[in-house]
Amino acid sequence: MNRFGVIFIVALVGGMFVVPAQGEVPQPSELEIQTLTPIDSLPTKEELVTNVTGPDQVGRLEELALNPTVDFGIQLRAIRAIPHFCGTPCSGSARTALLNLLSRISPTDHSGQTILRLRAVIEALGIARSGDPADVDLLVPYLDNASRDIRAAAARGLRDMCQSTAIVPLRARYQHEQVDQVRLAISAALRDLDQCSQ
């Protein structure tokens, strides 16, 4: 048996992957599993282009990210990989995919995995840096999220978007933010946004 077969069996035995029922979205290929499971690095665009089933890599990544039968670690990395396919500024299918992923997250679900998924989308939207003010408007509400990790991620995402329209809501949140981790993330964002606006 080749190494890919071993990997897949290990994954199945470990309960990490579920064999799909017929007609469902195809499970990740062996190359996709390898590309979306490194421990201490993230895949490069070249690795994604080559190993993620094409020709529509963004569509495939979105598909993997939304498929609940796919291993959750792969879903997360698939979300985070989408900005690789953005243009400058980010537009088109990559941005659309991220917005779709965000819209599919239930605001009433506060489970750990949902928070982690939300953080991945916020982070991806931030580095996508679309330049569209609507993206800032999408992230601002998360500055008031119940999770400190989401609030910190939103501050970073707004920083990465580099749009000065984020300054006012960040300042407003800073006034009543109680958690030092988030206050520091907001301060850092405001500092960097000041550079963006110059």
């Binding site: 390898q34 490194p38 201490d40 690095s41 959750f72 981790q181």
Partner: protein, 526 residues
């Protein structure tokens, strides 16, 4: 030979030792009935395990310093007073009379390129074992490996905790002398930044050597240009910078026998990096430099710290640091409670599934987990949710020079990274921007503690000098043949996903003999 049998002469050793030893007498074969403290006139009057010193039976010696300054200790455990006078040829500190030391004669050597030495007055300077830069910093006139040391013929001539070894002399090309070297733990010293060509002396018996290169300007990279072994083998050449025109940085990187990469602020070179290039006795020549991020020469002056290890330890100490993990979204994975230093020490999941699995994994390499300490890090909220770009700020909090610091953070960004650390990391030095590894606890939202232990062990092993047994790049469709073996430099570690060093989190815990060899030589062990 410049020894005589009896001398009550003064010594610089503690009074008790001086009193006991200064009267050592030889005469007849030992084998009398005298016990410790009984009067005697010769060794023969004392029990076979004792000798006659200062007119009383005293224990025999194991090391010359037990006898006092200017004495040797022979193979029977008997002390002898040295008679070497200024100018007399010597090969060991124990050849020279009290108040004198055996000092190297400049560049003079014998036919085998061993440096010659003679007895000379001691300096009013630091004792053996002290840190030094120049020979004149040392009472006995020899500074090597950043420390004052005594010349010797055999380990019996050396103080407790040191061993007699061949040491390459940095100041005189292609020569060696025998000196007493710290036998346990890391020997750490700074090499003055006088030149970009660094000489790293590796004594006989050394199992591990390392250079830690750093620059104060954190926006500049620091690293090696070239690394040549004592036998002249080229172990490393800095990869070219920009792909194209015959340049392939990845090809160059993987072609090197020693894996090393210039990095912002600090980088590490570990030897041996592969069983294919065993550690050699002699002087390694390393050309070091700072670089701008674009690869051009930098302006920062590299600081160089050297580490050499001669013993073969097998114990790995871990220092667990917990950032503020309060109200963590993956708290269910902690057993529903806040994870901190106290909870980790008492928690069944942490102890059994995480620490227990780490113990199992490292046992495969013949390494036992030693002391584990637990510390809360609650005064750095800016690092609770860590962007990997800030990893240096967190790792600099790793104070422990022995073992490895492990930092548990709330979240690790970019999302998807589960652990992060230097490859290799600095052994024997704490408080640097690479002094530890980082584990994102957010992984526990979708993985078990046992799985977290495997990826933590993977990162610990990278810190200790192992590399991925195979890289993701190897699997790119259409990968040219030259790149199809982007793997470690260890012949017996295959590309199996069962290996601990498999790049993916879906991997095993196996280690090949070659990998175990590199791991057990790591300077992080105790």
């Amino acid at each position: 030979m410049s020894h005589r049998t009896l001398s009550p002469g003064p010594t610089s050793r503690p009074l008790l030792i001086a009193l006991i030893i200064s009267g050592v007498a030889l005469g007849g074969c030992p084998g009398g009935n005298g016990n410790i403290g009984d009067e005697c006139r010769s060794n023969g009057e004392c029990d076979a395990t004792l000798q006659c010193g200062q007119g009383v039976c005293v224990p025999r010696c194991a090391r010359a310093p037990e006898c006092g300054d200017g004495y040797s200790c022979d193979s029977k455990g008997l002390c002898h007073l040295a008679t070497g006078q200024p100018g007399d040829v010597c090969t060991s500190e124990v050849d020279c009379a009290p108040g004198l030391s055996c000092q190297l004669d400049g560049t003079a050597t014998d036919a085998a390129r061993h440096l010659l030495a003679s007895c000379a007055a001691q300096y009013d300077a630091r004792p053996a074992g002290s840190e030094c830069v120049l020979d004149a910093d040392c009472r006995n006139g020899t500074c090597a490996l950043g420390h004052c040391l005594d010349l010797c013929d055999e380990t019996r001539d050396c103080g407790s905790g040191t061993a007699c070894m061949d040491i390459p002399r940095v100041e005189v090309v292609d020569t060696t002398f025998r000196g007493c070297v710290q036998a346990k733990g890391n020997i750490v010293w700074s090499i003055p930044p006088a030149t970009s060509n660094v000489l790293l002396p590796v004594p006989s018996g050394a199992r591990f050597a390392e250079l830690v290169l750093s620059v104060d300007d954190l926006v500049q990279k620091v690293g090696a240009q070239r690394l040549i072994s004592p036998s002249g083998r080229l172990l490393y050449t800095r990869p070219c910078e920009i792909q194209g025109g015959g340049c392939d940085p990845d090809r160059d990187y993987y072609a090197n026998l020693v894996r090393h990469e210039a990095q912002l602020g600090q980088s590490v070179i570990t030897l041996p990096s592969t069983p294919k290039a065993p550690l050699e006795t002699g002087i390694y020549r390393i050309q070091v430099s700072s670089f701008r991020p674009n690869g051009t020469a930098g302006s920062a002056i590299p600081h160089v710290t050297a580490i050499v290890r001669v013993d073969a330890p097998t114990v790995l100490d871990l220092h667990f640091h917990f950032l503020d993990l309060d109200a963590h979204p993956c708290e269910a994975g902690f057993g529903g409670a806040r994870l901190d230093a106290r909870a980790a020490q008492a928690g069944t999941l942490f102890q059994n599934d995480f620490v227990g699995e780490l113990q199992t994994i490292f046992a495969h390499a013949g390494i036992a987990l030693g002391s584990i300490d637990y510390v809360d890090v609650l005064d750095h909220p800016d690092l609770d949710g860590l962007d990997v770009a800030d990893a240096g700020s967190l790792l600099a909090l790793g104070e422990s020079p022995v073992g490895i610091n492990v930092f548990f953070v709330r979240t690790l960004s970019p999302v998807g990274l589960q652990a992060f650390g230097p490859n290799p990391g600095p052994a024997g030095i704490g408080k640097t921007r690479q002094s530890g590894i980082i584990v994102g606890v957010d992984t526990l939202c979708y993985r078990s503690w046992t799985q977290l232990a495997r990826l933590t062990a993977h990162e610990l092993a990278r810190y200790m000098g192992l590399h991925h047994n195979v890289e993701l790049g190897t699997y790119l469709a259409g990968t040219p043949p030259a790149q199809q073996h982007w793997a470690d430099n260890i012949d017996d570690s295959d590309e199996s996903s069962n290996n601990l060093m498999y790049f993916s989190e879906i991997g095993g815990i196996e280690l090949s003999p070659g990998q175990r060899e590199i791991l057990t030589r790591s300077g992080v062990l105790r």
